[in-house]
Symmetry: C2
Subunit: 399 residues, 2 copies
DNA sequence: CATAATTGTATCCTTAAGCAACATATTATC
DNA sequence: GATAATATGTTGCTTAAGGATACAATTATG
């Protein structure tokens, strides 16, 4: 939680605020002239010029290569502006996902574009925290040259766990962890000082998926991740809503009722484990995969369709209950089980409509298209977001 | 929703920001010296002095009357600071609640202290919106002298209704309104221009109840109002969370399950109407009041206790479901039905404990003590809050 | 009573934004 | 094609506002 008092500004702080604002504007727009920037930030063109000069000197912004700019014709009269862009490789950020079955590391640049992603199998529950951290750091940093590492401005880590607001892990049942100060562990394994953040995997996923939106979606978005477990993250105007203890959006254990539910919770009905189990039972094929199931639903095989229908009904129930509380205007479904959604979208909508009051606006439900926007990417985005904020240590350093 | 871009600051904006910060600090602390303020705002003492000089000239701040200051002995060495305080009657704010059975108007001063509250019966459903507005304005403004009215810095109105984010009323079933631009109606009935805000009554209640906290409660608080209907408002670090369409916290229609519920929603079980109806049925007394019921629960009359037990169970269910989504760390119960809470607090806690996972921290549940902190007070607080923010029109005016 | 500590104010300094003017580059127009 | 119109980026000057320092005033401490 941030300071509740409005922070006072000093002359130097103004410049910092404006530089941040400029970087954010450039991130959103990709390319802007100094005059564009002045308009966006409500600044004088001369001030905009000064700010850009400072950012250019810092190596974060550059003028777009003229030859590359393809000499397009300009629509308006007047001298055309010189386009500016972020210097992608000025800095970079690492995101690591420590999962139950694998570890993934993602590198993003100043534009928040993915540089590369690497993943390796890792049996989380079989190893301890220290082992996991060692593997994760090795995967993320092993082949980075020292001078490149120096430009790393943060590492974010996501795990399937409940964390306290101070960043310590309260419990991670899937990994068998309890009361772990992951940040401290990582800090001690690193030969250098660097901003670190930890986040629940669903929350990290939400941040990553929301980071794709440009302009940032104004409003409340619920990102639901469905694998074996079900979690969700809530974004309010592009900012993660963490709740009072950092556990907001933990809807996996929400009670679902109605005909097929019988007092089970959301995860037990909608999660991959149950879907597979039900599908294998009705087909009698013990090796059947989720893809087989999807294919059968597509082919309108009655048994599969029936399972899908129950899935839609239970999910609709939980989504409506959730929207009664946070009034989301958009719901994004992710995780492998979400692939079922396009096949039953109409049914889900009908169930939601039936469950909700007439005059309560229903949220826009959509599938998270880009599969590589995983928790690792989201964890990296958290530090990108931090870098383009007043908490950035670009300032504390030079002070 | 606010601008997503970080606003750039200009020299003049700094002073405005700092003046706001000073006013907020004084509101929170009641009394501060210039040096105290400098420490709180991270400013130089000289800057603090300049800011206070400007605020004093504007008539918003004054030095505490020396004689009144009771000549207390000072603990520390050094020259004692001159205490500063807000000038209570520099400005004032009006809050109006248009309810189903009555209209209430509350006046608060710059310290957010109640000056007076007036209420009169009003049969909302029987009259139209225009009639309600006329009554409300008459009640609030009738005996205010013109020169006093000039110092009114805003009117807030709360109604039992669902509103859109732009402030128009989407529907108010209890009053029979639909698609009403209440702000516009009020503006047209006023002979002067003034900031106006509308809010749902549960949200207004939440703001008012949260405004009593000083220091502002950091975290997520759920304020539940239980009368005939059940509504709630969510405060995040003292700021109202409105949701994607302004309907966050509308938990009255949340589905509640379990033995006694049988597919009914929260309001139908926990609301005053149902409690009274059940109580009258079991006792056979058609005239029995809610106070009779409370007395019987206190006396452990089995039939009453059983109703109370079901009430606690259903409420616990809904609160746990809600906390899975927003992870509130505090829940405040208000409205007349909340008086039942102290009698079944232990049962409610037990039910919540049973419904929630072991390692999910339970929120602190408490009764809203001060009964006069109603929606009208909250509506007034909304404008107080606005006045002590950058949206204040103290600035747009003088520009 | 001397000293340390603290406050409020006055003076000077620094930072950074605004403003106006100007050179520059492009489109629009006759 | 020449000229006007328009937009951009830069430069020099002005202004607003916080910071630093010094100093007088006021209290506690030994």
């Amino acid at each position: 939680m941030k300071e509740l008092t409005l922070l006072a500004s000093s002359p130097r702080k103004i410049r910092q605020t404006n530089e941040i604002a400029a970087l954010r504007a450039l991130h959103r727009a990709d390319r802007l002239s100094r005059a564009d920037l002045a308009r966006i930030l409500n600044l004088n063109r001369s001030s905009s010029g000064h700010i850009i000069a400072e950012l250019t000197a810092a190596g974060l912004v550059r003028e777009v290569n003229e030859e590359k700019a393809a000499r397009q014709t300009y629509s308006r009269a007047g001298r055309p502006g010189v386009m500016l862009e972020l210097v992608p490789d000025a800095v970079f950020f690492l995101g690591i996902e420590i999962g139950v079955e694998h570890i993934t590391a993602t590198e993003i640049d100043l534009r928040a574009a993915i540089i590369r992603t690497r993943s390796e199998p890792f049996d989380g529950p079989a190893h301890g925290v220290e082992e996991a951290v060692r593997h994760a750091i090795a995967l993320a940093c092993s082949d980075l040259s020292p001078d490149r590492l120096e430009r790393c401005e943060g590492i974010g880590i996501s795990t399937p766990s409940q964390l306290n607001l101070n960043g310590t892990i309260h419990s991670a049942p899937l990994l068998g962890w309890k009361n772990v100060n992951l940040i401290e562990l990582v800090r001690q394994s690193l030969p250098f000082q660097i901003p670190l953040m930890v986040e629940n995997d669903a929350n990290a996923f939400a941040i990553g998926a929301g980071y794709g939106d440009r302009p940032i979606h104004a409003g409340v978005t619920l990102f639901v991740v469905m694998e074996s477990g079900v979690g969700s993250g809530i974004l309010v105007d592009g900012i993660l809503f963490r709740g009072g203890h950092g556990l907001a959006g933990e809807i996996g254990h929400m009670q679902v009722e109605g005909a097929p539910a019988k007092g089970r919770n959301l995860e037990q009905i909608v999660g991959l484990t149950n879907i597979l189990s039900e599908y294998r039972t009705v087909t009698g094929r013990r090796e059947a995969t989720f893809e087989d199931f999807l294919a059968d639903v597509r082919d309108r095989v009655p048994e599969a369709v029936s399972i899908a229908e129950n899935w839609a009904k239970a999910l609709a129930y939980a989504l409506v209950q959730t929207c009664r509380v946070i009034d989301a205007d958009r719901i994004v479904l992710g995780g492998s089980v979400a692939q079922l959604y396009p096949l039953v979208a109409a049914r889900l909508a009908a169930h939601m409509q039936a469950a909700q009051d007439m005059n309560f606006p229903l949220p826009n439900v959509q599938l998270n298209a880009e599969a590589n926007f995983g928790p690792a990417f989201g964890a990296a985005c958290m530090l990108h977001q931090r870098y383009l904020s007043l908490e950035s240590n670009r300032f504390s350093e030079e002070d």
